[in-house]
Symmetry: C2
């Protein structure tokens, strides 16, 4: 089977937005939002509090994203939900009123598209909230509910709130706030498919799927893909899978996954033993122990062998998300770890995704701390922002960085060099994660670039060989200047 994945994703740079925390609109657009009391924007986030970011506010920041080089946004959930992260869906057809509702989303979609920015939404289809209408009806009407078969009831009575009694229904992660759909009910399946179709028809460019491995109904994700792609063949479907995703990356389900299999070794290589264990222990990915270049190269090669190349090019690569601590904090505030990892992210096959605020050095431990309000301009790490901008621009400039082949050329100690090549365009990426200067000597067949287009390293040709001088804790990129 010829696997087809959306071309635009291969060329995209994503920005992941946690809507409550990215941008609060300056102008009041809706009377409904006047006089709403929010937590202080700059205070430490709490589990239950809202800071009041909204989609009108995102529109106000689209210029910022454009300047950064962003071409796609992945929004964590925006549908009506009584939780600041909005993974507790109350209504799949409504954008949350705090975010500005469907009206604000329509405006955002138009504004983003007019800037050639794609928009991918988060679909939480394994479970709903206990306030979700069809579950709520069961709470209200018990056995007489017409929607009884939409969820998985074990016994009566149900106890949605009183934790002293068993919930008596299947719920995600044992959390009674999140009753799990009965995906074996064809009507439930149809309901979810129609939600997916509705928003694709409304113009979104793809779905990020929350905990899709929990939905095990036969053929579910295959049908999901078919129905979504029937409306928009170029829609992006990306699953939240933290492990080997071969089961879903067979060309009939997802176009990619959130690539924590990239994040973990990249952090372990770039930050090494700087990784603060308290932020990564007992999580679903393992950015430890520290990796040397040879181990990193092997891990990356193994990762690149897992899936078809067309799927590799549409992975959603990342270093952090709302589900992890931020790399700046994981690395104990070591900016160079962030820089090296970011360089690896932005030169890797697949779409890089920047978690909002990472580009300006926003710190954050495990959630809710990783979901802080986007900082005021006075608190930005401008050097880090410039670093991101420059690398993103470079990725946009060199097609090889996006769709070129990937080949390890050199791995020694903490130095690692690889090549991205497309037709006659070759880009070399060289990283020295160590604290001492390093030298790498490579074979340099004709076409090997010798010009440094990014970073502090230097290169000199020595007959058929290229000699790279790599200053400590840095990355260097060589290419033919364009």
């Amino acid at each position: 089977m010829q696997i087809h994945t959306p071309d635009w994703v291969k060329h995209a740079v994503f920005y992941q937005i946690f809507p409550d925390r990215f941008s609060r609109s300056q102008q009041l657009k809706q009377k409904l939002l006047s006089a709403v009391a929010f937590e202080d924007w700059a205070s430490t986030p709490t589990l239950y509090g809202y800071k009041g970011g909204d989609l009108w506010g995102v529109i106000e920041r689209l210029d910022y994203l454009t300047e950064l080089g962003i071409t796609a946004i992945y929004f964590t959930p925006i549908f009506q939900s009584a939780s600041n992260h909005r993974y507790h869906t109350h209504d799949y057809y409504k954008v949350d009123p705090l975010l500005g509702g469907n009206e604000a989303f329509a405006a955002l979609l138009e504004a983003a598209h007019s800037r050639h920015i794609k928009v991918v939404l988060d679909g939480v289809f394994n479970h709903a909230s206990r306030g979700f209408f069809f579950f709520h009806d069961i709470l209200e009407n018990g056995r007489l509910s017409p929607w009884l078969d939409w969820f998985k009831i074990d016994a009566w009575p149900l106890s949605p709130y009183n934790v002293e009694q068993p919930a008596n229904y299947a719920c995600w992660d044992n959390n009674r706030a999140l009753p799990q759909f009965n995906h074996d009910n064809p009507v439930v399946r149809e309901y979810i498919m129609e939600v997916a179709e509705y928003w694709i028809r409304a113009g979104i460019d793809g779905w990020r799927l929350d905990v899709p491995e929990c939905v095990t109904a036969e053929g579910f994700w295959q049908e999901f893909r078919e129905r979504v792609k029937a409306i928009n063949p170029e829609a992006y479907i990306v699953g939240e899978i933290w492990t080997d995703a071969s089961q879903w990356l067979d060309g009939t389900q997802f176009d990619g996954v959130m690539n924590y299999l990239f994040a973990a070794p990249t952090i372990a290589f770039a930050a090494g033993d700087r990784v603060q264990m308290e932020y990564v222990q007992d999580r679903s990915y393992k950015p430890y122990p520290a990796l040397f270049a040879v181990e990193y190269a092997a891990t990356i090669e193994r990762l690149l062998s897992l899936y078809d190349w067309q799927l590799q090019l549409t992975q959603l690569n990342l270093l952090a998300s709302h589900d992890t601590a931020r790399l700046m904090t994981i690395a104990g505030g070591d900016r160079e770890s962030v820089e090296i990892a970011t360089l690896l992210l932005l030169t890797f096959p697949g779409a890089p995704s920047i978690y909002y605020g990472d580009e300006v050095g926003l710190p954050g431990g495990i959630d809710p701390d990783s979901r802080q309000g986007f900082p005021l301009e006075t608190q930005w790490d401008r050097k880090l922002l410039a670093y991101h901008r420059e690398l993103i621009a470079l990725r946009h400039r060199y097609r090889a960085l996006r769709t070129g082949s990937y080949k390890s050329l050199h791995a020694s100690g903490q130095s690692y060099v690889f090549e991205r090549r497309l037709d006659d365009e070759t880009v070399l990426v060289a990283v020295n994660a160590g604290t001492e200067p390093a030298r790498a000597v490579l074979d340099a067949p004709p076409g090997t670039p010798a010009s440094v287009v990014f970073g502090p390293g230097t290169a000199s040709c020595d007959g058929p060989q290229l000699q790279l001088e790599l200053p400590p804790r840095s990355g260097t990129i060589l290419a033919e200047p364009l």
Copy 2:
């Protein structure tokens, strides 16, 4: 102040539909509704069960309503709600999925309007359901909810379902399923006003307001009227007020109320001591003790003196509703009580409203029994249906019956005669509620009609007097044949 009320209401004959029980569509229009298990249509209704009536089904019955002479429908609530009566609003912007959703309602509205049938919806704005998003958010996030001030919290924690703990929030009728809005919050007020405007803009012809006396915020209903009428000056606003409604019928709030002040004496006069006390005791209206004609005349005259005439013409007159037992049952199955009361209803100033099924003799005690499935054709009381059709046609034929003045002419024993007069059109209505034949002799100035156009009575002129022979338990109407 010149009081303006919607002209169409003065000429309307309403039909009250309880959507879960009126008509289930024959054709499956939405996959979502396949495989939904309903209670048997013909079985005794339960408090929590659904029978699956829907709006597609109502469309299929519009011809029936047209033949009956109906020109307006009052729907008890149709918005998304986890209760078969749907007074527990879960979403004010969504028509319940069981009813076919917004899609079915839009189709219904178009189909009804094309038959010149108006559509009035039930607005439940005093309270919402405990699953309503803004209340649900308080359940989920407690003091940190941004919507905290939308409801009236007395103490923490809240206990929405566990009846062993106090609910700790204000709710309607002490029912924790129904948290009461804080109408003093200007944002709540705005929210409700926007809901009202939204559906008026969508094309509905009016609002019936549930328990509006519970909403005591200053100027609330005045603003409601202003905003609704700004969009459609002919929209009908009718409140559920069971008592003297002078406070709301001042021309700045409602156009009318559900006229239980008409229902009660009319039943007490027509059914008399046949009234089964178990169905009327401890209710909000008093269709007892039995009334003689003199008492009935006095009560009706008092009622007609309560409000401005323009408001009298837009009252919603009724004999039964989802909140009462049906008259057929109240009267112990005595069909003549139903006929006499129906004749009084259909000749009274203000818009008559037939509670679905009453026209075919559907019985029913206090709810949920008064909310039975509309009977199969084989079970219709066809004579009663013909009686309704004929009287409704008569009302449409004689303008005086709709907007003419009302004047008692004769009250003696159980015989009662009154006149409706408009310009040179006069209609006499004569009722003998007694079990013996009765005679009424009236002054007959020029223009007094002497032709019987309905009923078993006879009339003869005797000089300046008109002598009416009124068979027992019947009503007779005299008019110039048109």
